[in-house]
Symmetry: C2
Subunit: 740 residues, 2 copies
Amino acid sequence: MQWTKVLGLGLGAAALLGLGIILGHFAIPKKANSPAPQDLDLEILETVMEQLDAHRIRENLRELSREPHLASSPRDEDLVQLLLQRWKDPESGLDSAEASTYEVLLSFPSQEQPNVVDIVGPTGGIIHSCHRTEENVTGEQGGPDVVQPYAAYAPSGTPQGLLVYANRGAEEDFKELQTQGIKLEGTIALTRYGGVGRGAKAVNAAKHGIAGVLVYTDPADINDGLSSPDETFPNSWYLPPSGVERGSYYEYFGDPLTPYLPAVPSSFRVDLANVSGFPPIPTQPIGFQDARDLLCNLNGTLAPATWQGALGCHYRLGPGFRADGDFPADSQVNVSVYNRLELRNSSNVLGIIRGAVEPDRYVLYGNHRDSWVHGAVDPSSGTAILLELSRVLGTLLKKGTWRPRRSIVFASWGAEEFGLIGSTEFTEEFFNKLQERTVAYINVDISVFANATLRVQGTPPVQSVVFSATKEIRSPGPGDLSIYDNWIRYFNRSSPVYGLVPSLGSLGAGSDYAPFIHFLGISSMDIAYTYDRSKTSARIYPTYHTAFDTFDYVDKFLDPGFSSHQAVARTAGSVILRLSDSFFLPLKVSDYSETLRSFLQAAQQDLGALLEQHSISLGPLVTAVEKFEAEAAALGQRISTLQKGSPDPLQVRMLNDQLMLLERTFLNPRAFPEERYYSHVLWAPRTGSVVTFPGLSNACSRARDTASGSEAWAEVQRQLSIVVTALESAAATLRPVADL
Amino acid sequence: MQWTKVLGLGLGAAALLGLGIILGHFAIPKKANSPAPQDLDLEILETVMEQLDAHRIRENLRELSREPHLASSPRDEDLVQLLLQRWKDPESGLDSAEASTYEVLLSFPSQEQPNVVDIVGPTGGIIHSCHRTEENVTGEQGGPDVVQPYAAYAPSGTPQGLLVYANRGAEEDFKELQTQGIKLEGTIALTRYGGVGRGAKAVNAAKHGIAGVLVYTDPADINDGLSSPDETFPNSWYLPPSGVERGSYYEYFGDPLTPYLPAVPSSFRVDLANVSGFPPIPTQPIGFQDARDLLCNLNGTLAPATWQGALGCHYRLGPGFRADGDFPADSQVNVSVYNRLELRNSSNVLGIIRGAVEPDRYVLYGNHRDSWVHGAVDPSSGTAILLELSRVLGTLLKKGTWRPRRSIVFASWGAEEFGLIGSTEFTEEFFNKLQERTVAYINVDISVFANATLRVQGTPPVQSVVFSATKEIRSPGPGDLSIYDNWIRYFNRSSPVYGLVPSLGSLGAGSDYAPFIHFLGISSMDIAYTYDRSKTSARIYPTYHTAFDTFDYVDKFLDPGFSSHQAVARTAGSVILRLSDSFFLPLKVSDYSETLRSFLQAAQQDLGALLEQHSISLGPLVTAVEKFEAEAAALGQRISTLQKGSPDPLQVRMLNDQLMLLERTFLNPRAFPEERYYSHVLWAPRTGSVVTFPGLSNACSRARDTASGSEAWAEVQRQLSIVVTALESAAATLRPVADL
């Protein structure tokens, strides 16, 4: 070739190469340099849903409930090791797992000197004794690890007196007895479970000079009225006559000696003499076969119709036994309680899957590990799911198939049964970092109460993610319904925004979500499968907190085939994945507007006139609710707009922070100084009857009968300002971040 | 050409083009699609430093101090408009600006019935009156807008009694008088400013039955002993004989009627009868010429040497006047105070520059606007700088030259002089969003006390950014020193880490930073230029809170040429830019390690033996400090490593959140229930003498003389646990975010 040609070809080649470089650089979009998916991966979600295995859940449950595992017992410690082993498994484990131990104050019956309830005849001799243990019906109710039924934290003592029947031990029940002219001083009160909290029965009783309290489970409340052995477990799911509900009678939650401080060994501990919240008088739970012996022999006036139950006799009020009954008329009841307080080590187990993109955002999922006896339902039905979920996600993780955008933290809490102790101490120890970083807390304690329907309790921001998840999962029952479509048949409400939707319950303090929502202000939920209420009126599943809550009970009666367990596992799994992997957090803060509007309307309708009489205006509250509604809607709009484009990860992070932190704006640690840990001004305990902002409802209920200008009316105004300030603060948090 | 050749060339060309495309796509990094700079732009910084203009600061000051502008006065409102106008200026304004108004409880002397201090003779006639106003020396001390000297929030009343001299009105001063056998009941106490807070003098006096309090400024404390008119303003910077320091005598801060709630009109207000923190007895400040008439005529024992001052006579203790003085021996002093509490509107002005990348991170910079009289120094010397800084940054913004990475918020607070009211109400209204989003708070109140050196108060994380800034700015004095090099000559300490460095003071409650650091836990600083302490012992600049704090005073004596003002403006400006523009936040959290270590050492050395006697171990505290040190150092390492690479913006954001939120981990709203707003466990007020963790120091000081097992010793243990928990929580926050 000629050199000109060569030159020409060379130049042409250079030009082509150059053009190529330019095209390659500018015309082809570069793939993001991140191995992590930008958004929820529906294939991964589908895989997880498929791999959650009912059979494995059943096997988990069998192992977990094989032995009684009372908090801090050797078997409880064995399960700590089991969890650690699973979560550190090289093929199906998490990134890391560890146990953390607190030294907490628990309460146990004495092994040497069992608690006893006796009938003492006129001459001082014991003429009848209640059972000290439950009947060994299936071979699992005996043995040294089955803790004697007792009222945890009830003081020891041996009160003796005439028996009275006090219905559910509510304040009004004792007032009714007073009205009936019954002298309560020095008596023993027989009460039934339900109505008010366990500890409240003793607190109320003590105010009337009552010396001791017995608590039993009426077959009307738990067994749909059935009480004979052949109608109860192991012949049905109902509670056998000897079954006794154990439980904590402590009024607050968290370790009693270290309020607001983690119960590490070095922490300051309140002097026992200064601890508040324990029952003031000896208290002991008994089964309904023993309760029948006591109650059906009572003397005195016939109890009111609403106080009657299903023991097969007319309930009388006492005091004392009737002359024509099984015991001499002036027999007394002796309640001897020998409970002991002990400092014990109790562990939480925590496992983490590190987030690929935002490791400092935590999706926290937990359940307690400790039970009263075998605890197949409570809590092992939840732990069985926890283990299956961590296995499925851990396997994807270890295979390199998947890593979530945000971190997922799995927690197995200790000593929940004594008062949510493990979870509360955890929130005390890591208050700041949990509050700053936790996206949501998901609790699955008792996962299956019964087979009929999903039941979710939670704050409004979690509603939509639960709806999204459950619409995509098949319901375990007959037919081809989604969990959502089945759910809506059992629990529903008419939403002004969405029309008919499943209704979420609100979060009290029934399980470990309590410190997360009330103390830390983290959006929380509790997920379970539960009853068809048209088929049973049982207060809770009948063997709750008894030695009859065993694997066979679940396997035969509660969830044969474990399809409801699987349904809950899938629901929780889908919620976890959506929260951890979605680019935009699936927390719909505008769903709080409905709650606020309904609280406002209740305040207007049921308190408006009263407040007006005392020159208190709801105007500022109306304005604050309107502002919240407007800002929440506007934020929703901004998110929709952004979702259509390709937003910058920092932009999304900023919006997500607004969504995540909304719930925190409802906290005010000075709102309810007398309510330990309760700082959430929307969900604190409500004692007033009006279903509105709890501080307002309670303060109005207290002020109602006082004069204008009283301290009580000042407190109404203060509570109103606290709510208005919180709502204004919430609206300010949702506003565009550079607006003042 | 042959078709084969054509084909060959064509294929070659295609291959080259393809190669080019591949090279272009993969080999050349794509530029980030962000118009905002990734990091602090040193050219912009240089421009800002150059454009901050001493002359403009002087003109701002002239305008701001032209008229008295007491909080909520018409002139105060005029200045609100001036600020809004400047911040909304189309050429040099901010993105947005607005005033927000609170309805707050202020205290004023009566205009109809001035407060008076009279000497009443034995027959009841007034034989001498103190001055009601300051002498009109420059023509600016007269007129209706110059508020009469008074003690804000002192109650009205007309007590009359024999005069005693009580030094500074500290608890031990009154005890000394008691020891001397002086009957205090019903007397009037003459006290001098200094030693204890204003309000504390009346609180201490009232405990001894004293009926009224006078407070004066001794020339020894403020004028280096000088007191004659020709030695004082306008002939020098010293306080004229008639000058009277006004001030708030309220014990707490924030609006007195709305603690913890924003003082919006609808908020609940505490009943006046239940307000605590006001002085219990009538109190009135006077000038030293009046004080001389009173004090130099006193009868009784000679006061202790340390109680003597520079009024040119021997100070005696009283009670009452001596027979050979100017007044009859049994003359009494009458203090008639007619102060009135009034609900007034007071405004904050807030202006914002929206961040380009992280608009939800706020660098907050503020000063109060209200003064006692003209307030040229306090606070207008700070506001003059605020306006100049906002002008320079606003101009760059409006020109399109610059927009910060994070948002910058400028604040002009109302009613600071009455107790940091505007800033406190702001923190109460926006508690959550400020706590979640604020990077740091920078306060410049009195910007120039004197010309000698920089003085910075702040928490450890801000030390390094102030050092970086001041090393790059020339000091205004003679020579070619940087502000840093000049500063280190006046205030320095030997750091175990850095060697000799300028020493930062700690933050009390002297200005609007108080709610930010103590209530919200936001890293804060206060910046000013101040004295050469070898040249003056003045407690503060001499005309503080008097009608002599005028433009000419600044222009002639404090900072002729305004170069110190410029130095402070540059320092604040550089700090603001570094905080708002740096990719990695320049908050060096490991600098807290020195503080913690020194607090720990003080506890070990000065309390260790005592604690051991009471079986209290400092072991957990040692462990916690060590953990903090290790985690802070490790985080510093991780940041250094990342800085060498090209980290992802989300990664940096996560680290920055750890840095920003570290200070929050030291808050505990339950640590000091009796101390309103103080929640920071490292910087709460310390009454104990040991310079260690304040809760521990104070509790030990109270427990020292009680037996083991007392409540006071339990409180020591509680305080120790609170500190340990806070430090453990701080260490946990600094740990890698996916570690448990």
